[in-house]
């Protein structure tokens, strides 16, 4: 059975639990639980104004750089964290 247009959960944490019911002529005949699902791929933000643009100079100090990150998924004040990682 395929069910279309279900929005995924908005982080990589597991859906726990997923419940479903079996119906017969509109009457619940059975409740089912125990299925969980974990998303595997991070979403991509709507857009980013990055700390540094390309074509900056080498061996240079850039101060007061602004980062703007436009989220596509929910981001909660109380539980949200933001990480910047660099790699050469």
């Amino acid at each position: 059975m395929n069910i279309g247009l279900i929005r995924n959960f908005w982080s990589l944490s597991a859906y726990t639990p997923i419940t479903y019911q079996l119906l017969l002529n509109g009457l619940i005949t059975q409740n089912c639980t125990g299925i969980s699902l974990t998303e595997t791929t991070l979403n991509i933000p709507t857009s980013v104004t990055t700390i540094l643009a390309s074509n900056t100079n080498i061996s240079t100090i850039y101060t007061a750089r602004t980062l703007q990150f436009y989220v596509k998924n929910p981001y909660l004040m109380s539980s949200g964290q933001f990480q910047v990682r660099n790699q050469l």
Binding site: W10, I58, R85
Partner: protein, 465 residues
């Protein structure tokens, strides 16, 4: 607070809205960067003025990865992430100069290249200097850097590798001497020498560059020797000329030879009858007195002794020494050798008039009468040229008056002595045969005796013609 990656990118976070919850050498994690819940899809997290970045010491690309997390039960679950690649611009090498001991074409000489670094280097860094086309470093020749921590090795005829064994701070002047470099084989301004500094052995670790403006302009050499030998030394003879010269340099492929003949030398149906090199494809181009031999140097002419024989050249019309022949050799791109002085011609034998008759109006002995002279000249004459007419000593001019009959519009006479008359052309003759009348010449005293008349032609400035 500062985090420094092992590769040299630094990030610090000072004034932003969040607080640091984790950090290591390559990442920084913040919380509290918003004051309300966002639900997307266009909500903006702004971390204003929060970051200070120190970019790496080379142009090797690096990335920033931005990730949002939701923390639940002490576990961070990723939400969104994106990675941005940063390509830093290299520094520009400044105050670059190039000095050669000799700028002459084909010279094997010493080059001194000097420049200032824009950014620092460390032990393990290196510097590459690429020589442009038409210059060549002698393999296994030596080069030396003024800075003791920079060693120099000639890697090929066009590249030198300079290794750095210690710190070279930004703004250091480096002077490198190449002891044996061959200049271009013809006059040109080369493309720029290029200089790249590298932070480490990776080709993507470029630090500073110089790709323009450092050029060398070569100059020509003087031809070693040149002689011009006409087959005849008679004035205005139509003859052949043999030009022998020893060049200083080979004529490069695609080159040509240009010879400017003196203005007193003129051409008939000029042709190049023989050369010391293969001339089957040669093209002769004549522009006034400039003769160019081209299209016959499909490969370099390395024999520096060359001979050219031209046919159908008119000698100078007088004994006056000519101005110098000029000779240049060229490559496809520029001049190679030159000679602009010291090769002149001086004729030694006057031309003989092809016809000369003298007709007295009266042939009575000792009578004074008019003589008609008809002269067919070999050499072309112009206004101001003159001839002397000599008569036997038993004859005499008596207040002579000269008048043109044909072939010339104006003449004047001046008595030099009783047996010599100077006749000057008041206009350029209109024909090769000129006829003039001279009154008042006293006939010879003895009848039936042949007498001799002599003419000598001179140019305006009194050179024999």
């Amino acid at each position: 607070m500062k985090i420094v990656s092992s590769a040299g990118v630094s990030i610090s976070y000072i004034l932003g809205t969040g607080t640091i919850v984790a950090q290591n050498s390559t990442s920084l994690t913040l919380s509290g960067v918003t004051t309300s819940d966002y639900t997307g899809p266009t909500s903006k997290i702004s971390i204003i003025s929060g970051f200070t970045i120190i970019t790496p010491p080379s142009s090797r690309p690096f990335t920033f990865t931005y990730t949002t997390y939701n923390v639940s039960g002490g576990i961070s679950y990723g939400i969104e992430s994106t990675t941005v690649t940063i390509h830093c611009s290299t520094g520009t090498i400044s105050t670059a100069s190039l000095t050669a001991n000799s700028y002459a074409v084909n010279a094997v000489t010493k080059y001194v290249i000097s420049f200032n670094t824009a950014n620092g280097l460390i032990a393990g860094s290196y510097i590459g200097i690429t020589f442009p086309a038409y210059t060549a470093i002698t393999l296994a020749s030596t080069c030396l850097c003024s800075n003791g921590v920079v060693g120099c090795t000639v890697s090929s005829t066009s590249f030198a590798n300079l290794t750095v064994s210690g710190a070279v701070v930004a703004g250091t002047t480096l002077t490198i001497t190449f002891n044996s470099v061959t200049n271009p084989n013809q006059v040109m301004t080369t493309a720029s020498f290029t200089i790249y500094t590298y932070y480490d052995s990776g080709l993507d670790s470029i630090v500073d560059t110089l790709t323009s403006g450092l050029t060398l302009t070569s100059i020509p050499n003087q031809i070693v020797s040149m002689t011009v030998t006409p087959a005849s030394m008679i004035t205005y003879a139509l003859t052949s000329y043999t030009i022998d010269c020893t060049l200083a340099d080979p004529i490069p492929t695609g080159g040509n030879i240009a010879i400017t003949f003196p203005t007193a030398v003129t051409f008939g149906s000029l042709s190049l009858t023989s050369t010391s090199f293969t001339n089957t494809t040669c093209t002769l181009t004549i522009l006034s007195n400039l003769v160019t031999i081209s299209s016959c140097f499909t490969s370099s002419v390395t024999n520096l002794t060359i001979t050219l024989v031209f046919a159908n050249i008119y000698n100078p019309p007088s004994f006056q020494t000519t101005n110098s022949f000029l000779m240049y050799t060229y490559g496809a791109l520029g001049e190679v050798d030159y000679l602009t002085s010291g090769v002149t011609l001086t004729m030694t034998i006057p031309a003989t008039s092809s016809a000369f008759t003298v007709t007295p109006l009266s042939q009575t002995v000792h009578s004074t009468t008019q003589y008609t002279l008809s002269i067919t000249t070999t050499v072309p004459h112009t206004t101001g040229n003159y001839f002397t007419l000599s008569i036997p000593s038993s004859m005499a001019f008596s207040g002579p008056v000269c008048s043109p009959v044909s072939g010339i519009a104006s003449i004047t006479c001046l008595l030099s002595n009783s047996t010599s008359l100077v006749v000057t052309f008041g206009s350029t003759p209109t024909a090769s045969t000129i006829v003039i009348a001279v009154t008042s010449i006293r006939n010879y005293d003895i009848s039936s005796t042949a007498v001799s008349f002599q003419l000598f032609f001179f140019s305006t400035n009194s050179y024999i013609m």
